[in-house]
């Protein structure tokens, strides 16, 4: 039910009831007024008729011609006034009959006149009485109708208040209660969707928000659980290594001790790298990714990255292809982190002895960088989720270090540079990642200022 429509309908209904009440009041007061007028007129006619009788009698008993003339004159005046008051056909007929009788009477007194006058008087008195009775009836009807209208108005107002309570007050109260419960920590609290459409929309919006917050919270818990799980493995390795040195046993030989300390060093590095990944992801999530732009060369960064992994994984073959000018303004440290992540993934997810192909180039105002490996590839399903936190590709046989945050962070870094990072699903035939970057960094997300490319002596055209 729409609140606006319902309230409009209720207001129109109340208005109509009020209008009807006013019209009824006007009708009844007019009727009463007319009745009272009629009663007064009938009474006046009765009075005039009785005075006319009096003058007729006086004319009859008056001895002087002067007195009779006076009585006749007064009788004529009274007859004229009374005739003027006549409204109904019956009244007019009564006076029409009286007039010739009076004329005759004034010439020669006749007892018929007195009888007619008495009859007329009775008629008017009865008429006044009837009018008065009718006035009382109208008055009573008006009273009854007035009470009825008052009751109807009161009922309408109560109904209106009930509708407001059912449609607005209660649902709003329920939404407020659910918000309070949610704020108090009950993440399952949801507002009942009821009442007017507008309130239902508020409840639905509140529930959608609550769902999103609850989901975010469960995501965070999952995030923490995943992080904890991944941090525990290197911790376990280090703690186990400590088990070599116990009071009960002699120290292991030196070669073994060296191996143990290399293990501890390796696992601590892994721990540190995981903590760094988490911190990076937290910064990216919190919107605290700030780029320090400098003039750098993507080709040089790619060469450094390939050199790094060539030394770390001597059993992989690497091919680097450079094409065009690759200078740009960007955050060199962050870009290096992305390149290392992409090349490192190619190394981690492909068998030893396979080829990792890196291409880097520039054309006009865009730069590109791609890495192709000969690993298991990426299924279309995985390609859709690959850049979400904690999503990792399937590994065939060996433990692949990492927590599933690298690509997530890399994509955010490239997007902050105004570029794109995509994975191409090539099931079973190796994976390819393509990154594109604008030569000049967009103005947002930039901390320190570096001179624009032109003033730094770099031509943003391909060589």
């Amino acid at each position: 039910m729409q609140l606006r429509r319902t309230l409009t309908e209720a207001a129109v209904g109340l208005g109509v009831v009020t209008l009807i009440a006013c019209a009824a009041l006007v009708v009844f007061t007019t009727m009463l007024r007319r009745n009272v007028d009629d009663v007064q007129r009938s009474q006046e006619m009765a009075r005039l008729t009785s005075r006319l009788a009096h003058q007729a009698f006086r004319h009859e008993i008056e001895t002087s011609p002067m007195g009779r003339a006076m009585a006749e004159a007064q009788g004529r005046v009274l007859l004229t006034r009374a005739t003027g008051l006549a409204r109904t056909p019956e009244e007019r007929r009564t006076f029409a009959e009286l007039a010739p009788l009076l004329e005759r009477h004034w010439r020669a007194p006749s007892p018929d006149l007195i009888v007619a006058l008495v009859r007329a008087d009775d008629l008017f008195a009865a008429s006044a009485e009837a009018q008065s009775g009718r006035a009382r009836t109208v008055d009573m009807l008006a009273n009854v109708l007035g009470v009825a209208i008052a009751v109807l108005l009161a009922a309408s107002v109560l109904f209106f208040l009930w509708i407001v309570q059912q449609l607005v007050y209660r649902p709003v109260q329920a939404v407020v209660e659910s918000v309070d419960r949610f704020a108090g920590g009950d993440l399952t609290a949801r507002a009942p969707v009821g009442g007017a459409d507008e309130i239902q929309r508020i409840a639905t919006a509140q529930n959608t928000m609550a769902d999103a917050l609850a989901r975010t919270r469960s995501d965070q818990l999952r995030y923490v659980a995943t992080v904890v799980h991944d941090l525990r493995n290197p911790l376990a390795a280090v703690q186990l290594a400590a088990g070599y040195v116990t009071p009960e046993r002699p120290l292991p030989p030196e070669t073994r001790l060296r191996e143990i300390f290399a293990l501890i060093d390796r696992q601590l590095r892994r721990l540190n790298s995981l903590v760094g990944d988490v911190l990076n992801a937290v910064q990216v999530d919190a919107g605290e990714l700030v780029l320090r732009k400098t003039v750098c060369d993507l080709g040089d960064l790619a060469e450094a990255s390939v050199a790094l992994f060539r030394s770390m994984s001597p059993y992989h073959r690497f091919a680097l292809h450079r094409d065009g000018a690759t200078q740009l303004r960007g955050d060199a440290t962050r870009l290096e982190q992305v390149l290392n992540n992409l090349v490192g993934n190619a190394v981690k997810y492909s068998p030893t002895g396979s080829l990792v192909q890196v291409s880097v180039g520039g054309e006009n105002d865009r730069l590109f960088f791609s890495v192709a490996d000969e690993g298991p590839g990426i299924s279309p399903d995985l390609a859709r989720q690959l850049f979400h936190p904690f999503v990792r590709g399937p590994t065939e046989h060996e433990e692949v270090a990492g927590i599933g945050l690298g690509l997530y962070v890399s994509k955010r870094i490239i997007e902050a540079h105004g570029g794109t990072l995509e994975a191409f699903p090539t099931d079973g035939r190796g994976a390819t990642f393509l990154m594109t970057l604008p030569r000049d960094l967009p103005a947002s997300n930039v901390e320190a200022d570096a001179p624009p490319l032109a003033s730094a002596g770099i031509e943003p055209s391909s060589a």
């Binding site: 799980h229 186990l240 070599y244 696992q267 065939e396 060996e398 433990e399």
Partner: protein
């Protein structure tokens, strides 16, 4: 002391644990995932299985279930779960084993749990399979 099959996908953890347990006098066979673990069980039929939970190819849960479903006598070997998973206790309940150890743990804790498992020798009994 005892023959143990040890399964963990993390090279450093697996090798260190295997080495330390061998120094304690156990006969240890190491495997990198559930499939290799089942293979080692077939080859050696140990007194005890120590396994990680999250592993590639075949994880610890699936491996313990396979020990039952295939019904080759491996269902009577006690199982110790070692994992950094936050829900390790629930995983142990699902698999019906009383022995589990949250990573990281000191060597003494591992020795104590192995000692208890060898003495009691209560095999895992997944409630979903044994009602």
């Amino acid at each position: 002391m005892a023959s143990i099959v040890l399964i963990d996908d993390d090279d450093d953890i697996r090798e260190t644990m295997a080495d330390l347990l061998a120094m304690e006098g156990h006969d240890v066979r190491a495997a990198r995932n559930g499939v290799e673990g089942l293979q080692a069980l077939d080859d050696h039929f140990p007194q005890l299985v120590v396994t990680d939970v999250e592993m590639p190819v075949l994880d610890g849960r699936a491996m313990v279930f396979r020990m039952f479903v295939e019904n080759l006598g491996r269902e009577n070997i006690p199982v110790i779960l070692v994992s950094g998973a936050a829900d390790l206790r629930e995983v142990a309940a699902v698999l019906g084993t009383p022995y589990y150890l949250a990573k990281p743990f000191p060597l003494e804790a591992l020795n104590a749990t192995i000692g208890r498992a060898l003495t009691e020798a209560i095999p895992a009994r997944p409630p979903s399979l044994f009602g």
